[in-house]
């Protein structure tokens, strides 16, 4: 990637870190970046040779599953400083995203989290319900949360999840301390870890100080019982005594470098009117539900497959096609869940079972 393009992307992220948007500037940079990647990232090049549609003149987005079968990177593996992998049971088919440097990832992650998670306080005591980087060195979430410690963590921040299990006593103690000292905390973790906590905490309830917040991310993937988002929200409110607007979902994926957060926390934390819950899309990201037949954006409010164009994905491919069902809502998007396997329940074997062999 040309140094000037890189610099202009950095400048745009910095300029839009306050939550503002400049779609024309973003789109111009995305087009330029995608063109460069089309000639430097071999799987994308091959993909584009076959996929000749150009929706509204844009290069089509690379499906996320390609990261499971091919190295999607503009640099040689010798230059990797980090390789993040999707969760899964078989290493062979886990998606991987290689990075030659993480500075831009950090810049985007920090700016988005500052805006959406910590708009009101420079630092907060963080309690993390996810593995640390030593336990999960290939998890982009663990990496990001470790950076959160540096950027946003106050004294007493800690991991309350270790060796794939909840540190029950550590969590309870930290929450009691927070209540006793009237010190708000941020609980950050995976959805399934929150379910484990829900099961482990039994009848214990907390009334955490105002300003406390929860960020949960990801699905359940068979690691805990599944709970519908609305029910999860109710459970978390009741368990921790945190008002609903202060409980948000993070939408991130290994194949991306930027994250999307629900809007309510920022609004509530800054004393603004709380509007409909949706994902805030940072100014350096374009998130559009598309019609998979035409690859064009669906009409406002209709359900399509979420395409994300992320300017921070400089070392791989910035245009990513997910399998997430989504619709736009006001200035954001609402993700409705992952599209199910195409094969109907019947006697046909599921694709993942084939792959699992």
């Amino acid at each position: 990637m040309s140094p000037t393009l890189r610099t202009r992307i950095e400048q745009l992220i910095d300029r839009l870190a306050d939550g503002s948007h400049d779609d024309a500037a973003r789109d111009a940079l995305l087009a330029e970046l995608a063109q460069q990647q089309a000639s430097t990232v071999e799987p994308y090049q091959r993909f584009l040779a076959s996929e000749r549609r150009r929706p509204h003149g844009l290069l089509p987005a690379l499906p996320t599953d390609v990261f499971r079968f091919a190295r999607v990177a503009a640099h040689a593996s010798a230059a990797d400083v980090a390789v993040f992998r999707t969760s899964g049971t078989t290493a062979e088919h886990r998606g991987s995203h290689a990075f030659a440097e993480l500075a831009l990832y950090d810049r985007a992650a920090r700016a988005a989290a500052r805006h959406a998670l910590f708009p009101d306080r420079p630092r907060l005591r963080l309690l993390v319900l996810a593995p640390d980087v030593h336990e999960a060195p290939d998890s982009s979430l663990s990496y990001m949360l470790a950076q959160f410690f540096r950027w946003f963590g106050a004294a007493g921040s800690s991991y309350v999840w270790r060796n794939a299990a909840l540190r029950h006593d550590a969590l309870v103690q930290a929450l009691r301390e927070a209540s006793a000292h009237d010190e708000p905390v941020a609980l950050l973790g995976t959805s399934f870890a929150f379910v484990h906590a829900e099961d482990a905490l039994g009848s214990e309830r907390f009334q955490l100080p105002h300003g406390s917040r929860i960020m949960q991310t990801g699905g359940f993937k068979g690691r805990s019982r599944s709970i519908e988002p609305a029910q999860m929200l109710e459970l978390l409110q009741a368990r921790y005594g945190i008002a609903a607007p202060f409980i948000v979902q993070e939408y991130g994926m290994t194949e991306l470098s930027s994250q999307l957060y629900e809007t309510t926390l920022r609004e509530a934390a800054l004393g603004l009117p709380v509007t409909a819950r949706r994902l805030w899309v940072p100014g350096w990201v374009r998130a559009q539900p598309i019609d998979p037949q035409t690859l064009l954006p669906v009409a406002r409010g209709e359900v399509g497959l979420l395409r994300i164009d992320d300017l921070a994905n400089v070392g791989s491919v910035c245009a990513i096609q997910t399998s997430d069902l989504a619709r736009t809502l006001e200035d954001g998007v609402v993700v409705l869940g992952r599209a199910q396997s195409a094969l109907p329940r019947g006697c046909s074997i599921a694709a993942d079972e084939w792959l699992a062999h």
């Binding site: 799987p43 994308y44 091959r46 993909f47 040779a49 076959s50 996929e51 690379l62 499906p63 996320t64 599953d65 390609v66 499971r68 079968f69 091919a70 999607v72 062979e92 088919h93 998979p292 037949q293 359900v303 399509g304 497959l305 096609q321 399998s323 069902l325 599209a339 199910q340 396997s341 195409a342 094969l343 109907p344 329940r345 019947g346 006697c347 046909s348 074997i349 599921a350 694709a351 079972e353 084939w354 792959l355 062999h357």
Partner: protein, 413 residues
């Protein structure tokens, strides 16, 4: 027939009533049963009100194109021939020694991926002289219900020994009532469904028709000339297009016997540009839900990024050398290379327990050789897939073996 909202008590009462009438059904005799079954099939092939409504419902329930519904109905119902049924049933009914004893009640759980699967699913047990209680798939109950009605019109005395009903898959009380009286339970569906039902019917013999996958093989002679190649591609196209590739007899991968990538690509092009493209005008692909479109988009993306992808108006064919992967169905298929028959059989080994059918482009000798090779490599315990000619994977005869076993296997006591 019971309404779909039948409660467990009603289901139990029905099951008991059916079981109590077993002797009555047997007393009717095989000729009468065969005649009734064939008449019912004939009705649904026609243009009467029931046949017409059934076609409309099938289209609405399955999303398949009307032409595909027609093709599926015609090819399947045409296989219900009196001579075939009589030949199949005769050894049971006419045996002088060790005469098999029909079950007093057979419970059949139907799957929802291929709408015509219920024809054999319902008729084979009846052919043994056993009353049948059947649970339809929630996704497409139309044909099973239509068969029941057609049978009633053909011969009410036979039809009263068949009951088709529906209840929610999570309704355990209904499931217990449904299988509790049966001596044999025949389950079409996922491995998980088979397991769940087995645990509710410890008294019964379980005939599991679980997860399945099918593949194809194109022998070297079929690649030798452009005509042979095109013929094999056309035949395979039908196997792929049938039921929009959603059945367990649908091939997801085809191995071509060549070391030449260019030759594999020629075959893939012929399959895409001629075979499947032609079928798109004759048997158009049905409607894809958004979920299916998402899966297709991802599958094609991988194929394009890591192999070669040919796309047609409603289908795609890839040539891939990486890990074998199934397609999402809906006429998406991978072409892979193999250097000989043992190589092909070896490539299938990880999936041996799930293999349902293998279509072969080549001679009868080649198919025989393949069966032997599969037995050698997969062991005698592994299920024997149905090895047939390309173009015939989706149209097994009414009397064809299933899961490597004779059609009536396990249905008698």
């Amino acid at each position: 027939m019971l309404a779909p909202s039948a409660n467990p008590h009603e289901i139990l009462a029905l099951a008991r009533k059916l079981r109590a009438g077993a002797a009555e059904l047997r007393a009717l005799g095989v000729e009468r049963i065969v005649s009734a079954l064939c008449d019912a099939a004939q009705q649904l092939r026609g243009t009467g009100a029931l046949a017409t409504i059934t076609r409309q419902k099938l289209h609405a329930d399955t999303g398949l194109h009307p032409a595909m519904i027609e093709w599926g109905l015609c090819t399947t119902l045409a296989s219900v021939e009196p001579s075939v049924l009589m030949e199949l049933a005769a050894p049971l009914w006419n045996a002088r020694v060790h005469k098999p004893v029909p079950a007093e009640l057979i419970a059949v759980v139907l799957a929802g991926n291929v709408f015509t699967a219920c024809v054999r699913g319902l008729f084979l047990p009846l052919l043994t002289g056993a009353p049948v209680i059947a649970k339809t798939a929630a996704r497409d109950p139309a044909l099973a219900l239509a068969l029941e009605r057609a049978l009633h019109a053909a011969d009410p005395s036979v039809a009263r020994h068949l009951a088709v009903l529906a209840f929610d898959r999570d309704d355990n009380a209904s499931l217990q009532a449904f299988v509790g009286q049966a001596q044999v339970v025949s389950v079409y569906g996922s491995d998980a469904a088979v397991e769940a039902i087995a645990s509710e019917a410890p008294q019964a013999r379980l005939l599991a028709h679980g997860h399945g996958i099918s593949a194809a093989y194109v022998g070297p002679q079929s690649l030798e000339t452009p005509d042979a190649l095109r013929d094999a591609a056309a035949r395979l196209a039908l196997d792929v297009a049938a039921y929009d590739q959603l059945g367990c007899l649908s091939p997801h991968l085809v191995w071509v016997h060549t070391a030449s990538l260019a030759q594999a690509e020629s075959f893939a092009r012929a399959l895409c540009d001629h075979g499947l493209e032609q079928l798109q005008s004759l048997l158009p692909r049905g409607k894809l839900e958004l979920d299916a479109q998402a899966a297709e988009l991802q599958w094609r993306g991988i194929a394009a990024a890591s192999g070669t992808l040919y796309t047609g108006s409603a289908h795609a064919v890839s040539v891939e050398t990486g890990p074998a992967r199934t397609s999402p169905g809906f006429r998406n298929l991978s072409v892979r290379l193999c250097t000989n028959l043992p190589h092909f059989a070896r490539a299938l080994t990880p999936f041996a327990t799930h293999l349902k059918a293998i279509g072969v482009a080549g001679s009868a000798e080649l198919r025989t050789e393949l069966r032997a090779e599969l037995a050698r490599q997969h062991g005698s315990e592994a299920p024997k897939p149905h090895v047939c000619r390309l173009g015939e994977m989706q149209t097994p005869g009414f009397d064809a073996p299933a899961d490597g076993r004779p059609a009536l296997y396990g249905l008698t006591r």
